[in-house]
């Protein structure tokens, strides 16, 4: 019957009105240059954050919930307005 694929609900990145932006100079794993923290990866309900150095967030599917920004202990992630809709 239904087979697994990414994007069942379409490009859920289009749901956002605010998007997460990471300041890597404040990101603990980037600072320490090793696996550390990554609470954003842990708490992302979508699993669209990659626990890499530097951090990667898949903006095609990130819904902009803001949990990562809220939970980041280094205040490295901020939510900024999407601005013009880029289709």
């Amino acid at each position: 019957m239904a087979t697994p694929a990414i994007g069942e609900a379409g490009k859920t990145g289009e749901w956002r009105d605010m998007k997460p932006v990471c300041d890597h100079s404040k990101c603990i794993p980037s600072i320490k240059k090793k696996a550390a923290c990554f609470l954003c990866w842990l708490y992302c309900p979508e699993g669209v954050i990659k626990a890499t150095i530097p951090l990667e967030i898949d903006l095609e599917y990130c819904k902009g919930c803001g949990i990562c920004a809220e939970e980041c202990p280094g205040k490295a992630i901020t939510m900024v307005n999407e601005g013009e809709k880029n289709g």
């Binding site: 990414i6 069942e8 379409g10 842990l42 708490y43 992302c44 095609e60 919930c65």
Partner: protein, 299 residues
Amino acid sequence: MPENLFNVNIEEYMLPGQRACQGCGLSLAYRYVLKALRENTIVTFPACCLTVLHGLYPTTSVAIPALNCTFASTAASASGLVAGLNALNRTDITVVAIAGDGGTFDMGIQALSGAAERGTDFIYICYDNEGYMNTGTQRSSATPIGALTSTTPVLTKQQPKKDMLRIMEAHDLPYIATTSSAYPIDLYDKFVKAKRIKGPRYMQIAVPCPPGWGYAPKDTVRIGRLAVETGIVALFEIEDGKFHFTGRSKTLAEKGNKLPVINYVERQGRFRKMSIEQLRQLQRWVDTRWNEYLERAEG
């Protein structure tokens, strides 16, 4: 903390672009449930938020075999999976039933009690977002006292939350555990453990719901944490009748510093019509249960 984090199975069985709300507590919890249970799992679930998360034909967002069922029958559907797989000698697969509080505390209770009583070898998960959220926030027996819902829109819920955990305890299960979306590692560890146990295992997940509870999606983890900090949600395991706290609840029990429930209710729109008397009732309810748990933990 990072060490535990990095021992987690890195495979993602829940694919991006799924239909759950922004900041969905179920989405967060389910990610870790699936990581813990892994590929050799079949899940069955009724019409609920999870059905929507799994997606609409012909595509699904979850790379685990899944069988939808009718609303009352989740545990019976799981019983049939277990029976069928046994008959075919496929004993290497974990059968998981998962339903919301509506499909567990209310309509699903008969089938669940039956499956538990029969000693069915499966994991039953109740994700408790305290209402019929998929259909627009109607009241369930899991809704806390004083909460506004679309079917308690003026007077708020009059009854306290049904104690489903105690009901499940009455079935003499080998393993019962409470977990929370806000504590994914605690959740993950309990599901890894549950997978190895035989017999009926009941897992309840405290799942915050932004639209249903009236808070901003960014606060899902914060609200979930406050539920535990105030003792509204206690993180524990009961293994063959033996109770013990885990994680943050264990620390709170040892240090004796749980927060008053007002810290939790004041952040949620659903409690804006809660009366003082109801708030007192909620605090009493929390304190009574917490003290019972403390006694059991010591014993």
